[in-house]
């Protein structure tokens, strides 16, 4: 139940930020959506088993499913890669001189030569 609510809260927050103007906040929304997906993945492993999957450190019957954890670990790092790339785009757009515009669009510097509308 808590996992479901956590996913709901993170998704709602993520989508709200995605729909805001400005590429930086869109990126933040993307990070929140990444968290939501990771919480969901981990919950799929079965939240009743909560021992860390370290052999020899606890009761094997209570150990968490390691496979979703490996997925989530991978997903976190990939999300990081995409996040910094998106932030790089925001920076590139700013360097190209369109950062003062309220709706910083997805277009790269090439299209930003148009006058601001």
């Amino acid at each position: 139940m808590t996992a479901a609510i956590a996913v709901g809260v993170l998704t709602a927050g993520g989508f709200f930020l995605l729909l805001r103007p400005g590429l930086v906040r869109v990126t933040f929304g993307f990070v929140l959506l990444g968290h939501a997906a990771n919480v969901l993945l981990l919950a799929a492993g079965g939240p009743e088993r909560r021992e860390p999957p370290l052999i020899g450190d606890g009761d094997p019957a209570g150990m968490a499913d390691p496979l979703p954890q490996a997925f989530v670990l991978t997903a976190i790092v990939i999300t990081f890669g995409i996040t910094v790339y998106l932030l790089g785009l925001a920076r590139a757009e700013h360097l190209a001189g369109s950062g003062s515009r309220s709706g910083t669009g997805p277009e790269g510097p090439a299209e930003s030569a148009e006058p601001p509308r």
Partner: protein, 902 residues
């Protein structure tokens, strides 16, 4: 599979090899490459000759190679009589055209591309008529379309629009053919062409039958330029003359005729088929002939003439009686001969006299008597005059049309229309000949072209003249082709002289009326010029631009400046999909979901507060801090859920994300702009959150430990020696996934390197850091500790929480800190060396396993002094390098821009 079957594959393969050779030959031989290719075409024909003789004895030579199992499709080639006839056209006319090209093309120019495309087209056309599988037929059909597009493009810039029109029209027909082939495969239960053609009863009884017939007809009409698609063919005449002669007169436009003949075995005699083909065909025949008669450009006349003749062929196939089919097959052959000749002659005139307009040409007969004679022979064949092969085929066509019986009186109507088209044909044939060759001589400096230039045309023209009286030579081929088109037919024998038959009377009537029409040409001309011209190309362009306009309207929201405008739609779609998914999985009831821990509720409350604050704040600084807070709370959540590795990694990622955001935001406005339309966004976001929560409820808490998870828990230590199961999954069990993921990071880093400018001197970090005096010594003090922590995390990763990811992220914080402190790192600590080393090391570890005989990335032990070094540790080091490479890139590029902007 017999040796003859192999010959079919060898023939196709040889065409491919010839095509690939042609640019090489062109570099050495220039335009004379055509002679080599002509010989090549004849050799391919010789390769096929044994198979052809089997086919003419009533057999069929087959080559089959399994392609896909499900659906069962095989690469089947099949040569029967009908295929033999078309192979003869493709290779025979092809060889003539190839021998014609060298003198037509400009000397000294580069023609490798033209030769390559022409030969590729020849191969595709050969494949089309030899295809023994429905889908293979479609593939070759599309190849001819594409080759045609590029070959029309040889006409230069003005060819762009006509080439696109031809591509779109014939491409549309190709799509229709694809659907027809799939439906036919379903109706007949097989995609093998021979099996399908034997399954007449099954196909005709199937409810799909009308749709299949319609689509086949659509495909054939687009390819063979029938009304209303006829306009692309005259447009395609901007291509160079060899292309027009080969593709747009002799072979490619006959692909539609081949298709209709082939599937006559299924549909011949069906009322809808008969009426559609006869109606459209005869209308096209008359319309094309009228158009030809009003043109002044010789090539345009021939183009409209081809449209008209194709109409006659379509109509004769529609009649479907054995006589009519036989006539269509013979006329296909005759038309290829006389039309190829005429095109080649007109190319000769164009090159010699510099014009194709009959208002500018005159009197060429006196200076080019041989050329004129050849044109005369081909023209007489086209007009259906004794003793040419065109006379025999035209008589057979009349006989066939007169036998039409789809409704009472159909024969009379059809024969009358065919005679009308033929009268017009006679008249424009005279117009072509008279326009170019008769009258006073205007260009005295001209002379007869070299024999090499006109020899190919001479071969075709003489063949057309000789094969008239000797038409019975063709009997075995024609009779077998008729049998293949209509297996139940009793094929007729062709005769040069039928005696005083009604057809002879019709021929005489045709010639007489044609002469009358020609002698009154001035008045006819004036009358025809007053008639409105149907401009199919303009109509097509209007429809085309309307479609593009509609696409622009549909796509307009995506070209908005605001990301919200287009992210809103996928967001809404996700909500809808989520609703559907939740209800499909579980019904509308609410499940309890997985059991929860009391502590969870506390963490959840913190999370909700942090998210709420994050979405509401307009301060950039607060947003970065709150985003970090959310990340820390989620990391805590993971720790409580028994995932210390994940928690550790997320913690480190959050630190670096916050750092990156701080770099970027320090130049962007520190206050976010005031939001608009907040309520709608909030409603959509709320709905998405609700659906996500319901979906999570529906999907979780349903099962015990997954079999895969149980396996890893059990096998991790005995198989890898590692006790940290998550780390063993990443580096031992599923290394390929991890390599892929680390490569994604490397790609993101490369993207940043390309996107953003670096420091002018190429170093990492900036010297003008504002807090350097405080942070510099701190960095110096902390650096050994951070480096040690990183090494410790890396080395213990196999046994305890840690590993390459987290270790690299720790090292990355040191780099970032160093940047803030204004300290420059060593040279090797720059993005490119790190990323390259990581990628190379990861791939090398994987390939080393292959060298040892195991699959890619299988773990192995490297013997070193004092024990063994396990390859997963090296692999983890590769991951470490790539992750560190990304962090260094971020610091370098995002930080660098910041320094510049101060």
């Amino acid at each position: 599979m017999s040796g003859e079957g192999g010959a079919l594959a060898a023939a196709l393969l040889s065409m491919g090899v010839l095509a690939l050779l042609s640019p090489v030959l062109d570099r050495r031989l220039g335009r004379d490459t055509g002679y080599v290719l002509a010989v090549g075409f004849l050799v391919v024909a010789a390769v096929l000759a044994p198979a052809a003789s089997t086919a003419l004895d009533g057999g069929a030579v087959t080559f089959s190679h399994a392609w896909t199992d499900s659906p069962e499709i095989s690469f089947t080639l099949r040569m029967d009589g009908l295929a033999t006839l078309f192979c003869l056209l493709v290779l025979g006319v092809g060889a003539l055209i190839m021998a014609y090209c060298p003198r037509y093309l400009t000397a000294g120019g580069r023609h490798g591309r033209t030769y390559l495309l022409l030969t590729l087209f020849g191969g595709a056309m050969l494949g089309l008529v030899l295809a023994g599988d429905l889908l293979l037929l479609f593939v070759f059909w599309e190849m001819t379309t594409v080759a045609s597009f590029f070959l029309i493009g040889t006409g230069g810039a003005r060819a762009a629009r006509p080439a696109v029109r031809a591509l779109l029209v014939t491409g549309m027909g190709g799509l229709a053919l694809l659907v027809a082939m799939v439906l036919l495969g379903i109706a007949a239960g097989s995609t093998d062409l021979a099996t399908v053609l034997r399954a007449r009863e099954e196909v005709l009884d199937s409810p799909l039958s009308p749709a299949i017939a319609t689509l086949l007809i659509l495909a054939a009409f687009t390819k063979s330029a029938q009304v209303p698609f006829q306009f692309w063919l005259p447009g395609a005449m901007v291509a160079i003359t060899p292309v027009s002669a080969y593709l747009h007169a002799a072979t490619m436009v006959k692909a539609g005729i081949y298709l209709l003949l082939r599937f006559s075995a299924l549909y011949s005699g069906q009322t809808g088929w008969v009426i559609c083909l006869m109606g459209v065909g005869l209308f096209t025949a008359v319309l094309g002939a009228v158009q030809a008669l009003r043109e002044h450009d010789l090539k345009a006349m021939l183009a409209h003439s081809t449209v008209s003749q194709l109409g006659l062929l379509v109509a004769a196939i529609g009649v479907g009686t054995t006589v009519a089919l036989a006539a269509a097959i013979l006329h296909t052959f005759a038309h290829a001969l006389f039309k190829a000749t005429l095109f080649m002659i007109i190319g000769v005139i164009d090159r010699q006299a510099g014009s194709r307009d009959i208002r500018e040409l005159s009197g060429l007969m006196r200076i080019m008597p041989v050329t004129a004679t050849l044109a005369g022979l081909a023209g007489l064949s086209m007009a259906g005059v004794l003793p040419m092969i065109g006379f025999v085929s035209k008589e057979s066509l009349f006989q066939g049309f007169a036998g039409a019986d789809v409704f009472p009186g159909a024969g009379v109507v059809a024969a009358a229309l065919a005679v009308t088209a033929s009268v017009l044909t006679f008249a424009y044939g005279m117009r072509i000949f008279y326009g170019a060759f008769a009258g006073p001589m205007l260009q005295r400096q001209l002379h007869e072209p070299s024999w090499a230039f006109i020899a190919p045309a001479a071969v075709a023209a003489v063949a057309g003249a000789v094969l008239g009286p000797a038409v019975s030579v063709l009997d075995p081929l024609m009779r077998q082709a008729v049998l293949n088109a209509e297996p139940w037919a009793v094929p007729p024998y062709f005769a040069f002289w039928h005696g005083l038959s009604p057809e002879l009377f019709l021929s005489a009537l045709t010639i007489a009326s044609g002469l009358v029409l020609f002698s009154a040409r001035d008045r006819v001309d004036r009358m025809l010029q007053r008639l409105p011209r149907p401009d199919g190309a303009a109509a097509f362009d209007r429809v085309h631009s309307a479609v593009l306009g509609a696409g622009a309207v549909v796509g307009r929201p995506d070209r908005s400046d605001s990301t919200a405008a287009y992210l809103a739609r996928p967001a809404a779609a996700l909500v809808v999909l989520g609703c559907v998914g939740v209800f499909a999985a579980d019904g509308p009831g609410i499940r309890a979901g997985a059991p929860s821990d009391p502590v969870d509720w506390g963490v959840l409350a913190l999370l909700a507060m942090a998210v709420a604050a994050l979405v509401r704040t307009r301060s950039a600084l607060a947003a970065v801090s709150l985003l970090g807070a959310v990340g820390l709370i989620v990391a805590l959540w993971f720790l409580l859920a028994g995932a210390p590795d994940v928690a550790l990694t997320l913690l480190l990622v959050e630190v670096l994300t916050a750092m990156t955001a701080a770099f970027v935001l320090s130049d962007l406005s520190t206050r976010f702009p005031r939001p608009r339309r907040g309520a709608a966004a909030a409603a959509l976001a709320g709905a998405a959150g609700l659906v996500a929560a319901l979906g999570t409820l529906a999907l979780t808490g349903r099962r015990e430990l997954s079999p895969a998870g149980a396996y890893f828990l059990e096998a991790a230590e005995p198989e890898t020696g590692g006790r940290n199961v998550v780390n063993t999954i990443l580096v031992d069990f599923r290394g390929l996934d991890t390599l892929g993921e680390a490569s994604v990071l490397a790609a993101a880093a490369l993207g940043l390197l390309l996107l953003l400018p670096g420091q002018p001197d190429g170093t990492v970090g900036g010297p003008r850091a504002p807090y350097g005096r405080v942070l510099g010594p701190a960095h110096r003090l902390l650096l050994p500790g951070i480096a040690g922590l990183s090494a410790y995390l890396f080395l213990r990763g196999h046994y305890e929480p840690g590993g390459g990811f987290s270790a690299a992220l720790v090292a990355g914080t040191a780099v970032a800190f160093g940047y803030l402190a204004g300290r420059t790192g060593p040279r090797w600590l720059s993005p490119r060396p790190l990323l390259a080393a990581g990628l190379v090391l990861g791939a090398a570890v994987g390939l080393a396993a292959m060298v040892l005989g195991d699959p890619f990335l299988t773990p192995f032990t490297i013997p070193v002094p004092g024990g063994g070094l396990s390859s997963p540790l090296l692999f983890d080091a590769a991951v470490y390098l790539m992750v560190l490479g990304l962090v260094v890139t971020v610091v370098d590029r995002l930080g660098a821009g910041r320094a510049e902007h101060r």
